[in-house]
């Protein structure tokens, strides 16, 4: 994200006025569509699924932008909506998958321990499972740093917090995720 992007305050101001709401919403999408797409894509893997979820999420944002109280940063709020949409989508897929397993197909999560070395998709799925155990803020920081490779300064701007606090959150998050993987290796999970 470049620094020439419109500020969140400006976007929200445009959204609040009837005549400029469309412009405000288009700016919001342009500013956040790429990081939000990557969040959805990481959870869902397939572009088509990520696209469906992202479009639904933006429609939800449009419907409920008036409920955004400004207590959290805008990106945190959007991230939460996309994550919830993606997880709901996964649950729906899981229900369908249960029917497929009964029909003899092997689910991805079942391949994780069986296949060595782990293939990229299975590793992504395992990481997704590990990060889902983290508190929301740590999960967000972990995703931004580990997957997006975002500098702390940029994260601090997006989440309106200090670099020190972000470093601490990331440290806790990586320790927990690593502990999760170690537990799998030790056969505890």
């Amino acid at each position: 994200m470049s620094h020439t992007q419109p500020s969140d305050e400006y976007i929200l101001q445009l959204l609040r006025a009837q005549h400029s709401a469309e412009l405000g919403f288009r700016l919001l999408m342009q500013k956040y569509q790429q990081p939000l797409y990557r969040v959805a894509r990481r959870i869902l893997r397939e572009h088509e699924d990520a696209n469906d979820v992202l479009q639904n999420s933006f429609i939800k944002v449009w419907r409920s932008i008036h409920t955004f109280a400004g207590k959290a940063q805008l990106y945190t709020w959007l991230y939460r909506i996309v994550t919830n949409e993606a997880l709901t989508f996964l649950q729906q897929q899981k229900r369908k998958a249960t029917q497929s397993i009964e029909a003899g197909e092997v689910p991805l999560i079942g391949q994780i321990r069986a296949d060595e070395p782990i293939d990229g998709a299975a590793l992504q799925a395992r990481l997704q499972m590990a990060t889902s155990q983290l508190p929301e803020k740590q999960r967000l920081v972990f995703e931004m740093r580990y997957f997006e490779e975002m500098p702390y300064e940029e994260m601090a701007q997006l989440l309106d917090t200090s670099v020190g606090a972000l470093k601490a959150s990331y440290h806790h998050a990586v320790k927990k995720v690593e502990h999760y993987f170690n537990a799998i290796e030790m056969g505890e999970l």
Binding site: W62, R63, G120, Y146
Partner: protein, 172 residues
């Protein structure tokens, strides 16, 4: 060292296993070309048929919200404070004597003090009440019915001197 290397170095120091796993991860999968150029239009196509989000209209203010800005100005605030003080004084002035505070003060009086007070204010007490209580205390009529007012008063004075604390408190 570029930013990516810095992030990887930090990860190796904090969580070596995660650093190794990261190297096995596939690179970020890119969406089809022009996806991000077209997405806002695609979303807007679906949205424009839906009702616009409610504009943040100011909620109608409550009566106290309208009053508050006026009250907190110096002169109206002093006026309101004066009225409040006058009301408090009025309430205190009109308060009946038999309040819990008055009863607590009464409980601290000694028998001698109560007796002295009653004797010096005997005209303020209703004679019938005094007679009734004194008779009840004695469990039999002490006061002859044929006494005149002066004689009754004199007799009551004598009896009051001998009353116990509980009865005195009851009379007061």
């Amino acid at each position: 060292m570029n930013k990516r290397d810095e992030i990887q170095k930090e990860l190796r120091e904090q969580a070596p296993l995660l650093a190794r796993l990261k190297e096995q991860l596939p690179g970020p999968e890119e969406p089809p070309q022009d996806y991000f150029t077209m997405l806002p239009d695609q979303v807007w196509e679906q949205i424009k048929w839906q009702p616009a989000p409610p504009v943040h209209a100011a909620k109608p203010k409550q009566w106290w919200q309208l009053l508050l800005p006026n009250v907190v100005r110096p002169w109206p605030a002093i006026g309101v404070a004066m009225v409040a003080v006058l009301i408090a004084i009025g309430i205190y002035w009109l308060q009946p004597i038999g309040t819990p505070a008055a009863q607590a003060a009464l409980a601290e009086l000694s028998v001698d003090e109560m007796t002295a007070y009653m004797l010096s204010h005997i005209h303020e007490f209703e004679e019938d009440l005094l007679v009734q209580i004194v008779d009840f205390q004695a469990e039999k009529p002490l006061l002859p019915f044929d006494l005149n007012e002066a004689e009754t008063e004199e007799l009551l004075r004598e009896i009051i001197k001998d009353l116990d604390t509980e009865t005195l408190e009851q009379l007061l």
